[in-house]
């Protein structure tokens, strides 16, 4: 029996080969053809996604953004289709997008409703670490057919970040407290990517070990950070900085190393903006070596 199956295979090979070759020539290359005939119409439901799309050179393809999207400045002229959490389905439907990109922050009911209405919705998870951030960026690249550009940008960003990490590894690590809320007092723990900023910039998060960021100021004073970063998420940064003066025992207060960081720069970043902000933060944390990071 083995003989006849072997003969059968030998006879089948050329037929299969011809069939395959014909198939390859006959089928059109889908993405290439589509890219040439119709530009992709994309609705973005997150400022981070909007920024990423512009980085990938898809600025023209973006037809709808949220009211929170403000970077880069060209975005202000684009049509607004609601907020991050509550997209306005009528507007989106009317724009007839090919692709709707959302973060998991968006109301899952709205996402499901959009899928039921026949829209192509892709949802990305919010990143907690730099490497997750890169993954999401690559996914966005894949979803929009710009995988190569995405890979290129991510590699550049990774290289820059690695370089900074290498440099800061040899420097002494200051203890850092990152404040992201004032009423109530709220700090960044190890579960948010702010932590990556701190660690890559060669510092230690004094609240690395807590499960939730709602800690008391007493605890903060007890942990005596060398540097305090105040992220202005709707806070008045200056007021907060002055509020710390009540605790002169804290090293950061004594040495006047309290810095206000603009939340737009550090919240919902792309790998590219991450790298940029990282160098700024590294410069803040290591003032003597600041020139190397800028």
């Amino acid at each position: 029996m083995t003989l006849s199956s072997a003969t059968r295979m030998r006879r089948a090979c050329p037929v299969v080969a011809v069939a395959l070759i014909t198939l390859c020539l006959a089928l059109p290359a889908p993405t290439a053809a589509q890219k040439a005939t119709k530009p992709l119409r994309i609705v973005s439901l997150s400022p981070a996604i909007t920024e990423s799309l512009y980085l990938l050179g898809l600025g023209e393809n973006v037809i709808g953004v949220t009211t929170y999207c403000n970077k880069p400045s060209q975005v202000r002229a684009k049509e607004k289709v609601g907020t991050v959490i509550q997209p306005n389905l009528e507007r989106i439907l009317k724009l007839r997008p090919d692709l709707v990109l959302t973060m998991t922050l968006t109301d899952p009911r709205s996402i499901q409703k959009m899928r039921e209405l026949g829209l192509n919705v892709v949802t990305f998870t919010i990143a907690d670490t730099f490497s997750d951030l890169c993954d999401v960026f690559l996914q966005i690249g894949r979803a929009t057919g710009r995988s190569e550009d995405a890979a290129r940008l991510v590699n550049t960003a990774r290289a820059r970040v690695d370089a900074i990490r290498l440099r800061t590894a040899r420097l002494p690590k200051p203890g850092v407290l990152v404040q992201i809320g004032s009423k109530p007092f709220f700090v960044a723990t190890k579960d948010v990517f702010m932590n990556d900023f701190i660690e890559f910039a060669g510092a230690a998060n004094v609240f690395r070990d807590v499960a939730s960021g709602s800690v008391s100021r007493e605890e903060a004073v007890l942990r005596d950070p060398d540097v305090i970063l105040i992220v202005t998420m709707g806070l008045s940064g200056e007021n907060e900085r002055l509020a710390w003066k009540r605790f002169p025992t804290v090293k950061a207060v004594r040495n006047e190393r309290i810095y206000v960081v603009d939340s737009d720069d550090v919240c919902s970043p792309t790998p590219v903006s991450f790298a940029r902000s990282l160098s700024d933060i590294a410069a803040l944390l290591h003032p003597r070596e600041a020139k190397e990071f800028r």
């Binding site: 609601g82 959490i85 509550q86 507007r91 709205s110 409703k113």
Partner: protein, 339 residues
């Protein structure tokens, strides 16, 4: 405000509901003019406008009809049973329980596991978590104590909202946002099945409530008087309480907390129909549905593209109109003047 006869009120209420529905289907950020609506429904099957009308606006109108009616009827029943004008479906803490259920569902990420049913189911179970203890804690030897229910309900409301705040404190930002928006109430619901099931239950309860109308009339004189008039008050109280709780629980679990409808509509309608529940129930249902649909339309369009939570509009609009009507009414009550 003079009392009007049913011959005037019933058609007027139906007209109000119809007007609200028509306004709702013709309004939205996509801007489809009224003339085009009819043609789109009949002919434009494939256009995005058709999708907008039938899959975005229509489900909201139907849900608004069901929930507005449910909350109004629940309000009428509870105000009649407790003989207290400040009682509304949420006073008893049912909404607090539902909010707690939804909050737990969101932080345990159950709605990623069962996308369609997890959130409404958790909300409903949460409301049951309040209704059942409320019922059994206030049964003393088969007598249901109304005052006890009211007080216990208010307390449970406080407890559940505190627990929800506890969940806020330990949850991540995105979860926080989701919980807050669920609580603020919205007529957005992707599942047609759930909407239609809710509507069926609500309409069934409306018909059932008709048969309780004479009972409610008697109860409005007080429990003792109702017994004198031959009403089996214990059985009636239990059935009415469970019906009102069911209506509130399923509404809240699907739409979140939409306040004031169950409080304002019964009061307002009572000024027109009088206390007789045979008229009050039907007219409240129609007016409540129309009111909610109308408020939802405003919430969707007033600062487009941002959608306000519908509870904001019901509160502001409903409260203001009510205060105006009440003030006018008291202003007219001069000695010798007629109301």
């Amino acid at each position: 405000m003079k009392r009007r006869s049913m011959g005037v009120l019933l058609p007027a209420a139906c007209l109000f509901l119809a007007a609200a529905a028509v306004t709702a289907i013709a309004s939205g950020s996509a801007g489809i003019p009224l003339r085009k609506v009819l043609t789109t429904i009949l002919e434009g099957q494939a256009t995005p406008e058709f999708g907008i009308l039938m899959d975005i606006r229509l489900p909201r109108i139907i849900l608004g009809f069901a929930v507005g009616g449910a909350l109004s009827i629940a309000g009428v029943i509870l105000q009649g049973m407790f003989r207290n004008p400040l009682v509304e479906p949420y006073t008893l803490g049912i909404s607090g329980g539902a909010a707690l259920g939804a909050a737990l569902c969101i932080i345990l990420k159950l709605h990623y596991v069962l996308p369609v049913t997890a959130l409404p189911l958790s909300g409903f179970l949460g409301s049951c978590l309040v209704i059942l203890p409320l019922y059994f804690l206030n049964m003393r030897r088969t007598v249901l104590r109304m005052q006890g229910i009211l007080l216990t309900g208010v307390m449970m409301s406080f407890i559940s909202s505190s627990l929800v705040f506890l969940i806020f404190a330990i949850s991540k930002t995105q979860e926080l946002h989701s919980i807050v928006f669920w609580i603020m109430g919205s007529l957005e619901e992707p599942s047609w099945t759930l909407i239609l099931v809710l509507t069926a239950i609500v309409v069934a309860c409306l018909f059932a409530s008709f048969f309780f109308a004479p009972v409610l009339n008697a109860l409005s004189l007080g429990e003792e008087e109702a017994v004198h008039l031959g009403i089996d008050t214990e059985r009636a109280k239990k059935q009415l309480f469970l019906m009102a709780s069911l209506l509130t629980g399923i509404s809240v679990s699907l739409t979140g907390i939409i306040g004031f409808v169950g409080l304002i509509v019964p009061h307002f309608v009572r000024m027109l129909t009088g206390y007789d529940h045979r008229r009050l129930l039907v007219v409240s249902f129609l007016v409540g549905s129309g009111f909610l649909i109308f408020c939802d339309t405003i919430a969707r369009t007033v600062i487009s593209p941002i959608e306000l939570p519908v509870g904001v509009i019901t509160g502001i609009l409903g409260g203001s109109v009510f205060i105006y009507v009440l003030a006018r009414r008291q202003g007219l009550a001069r000695p010798g003047g007629s109301l």
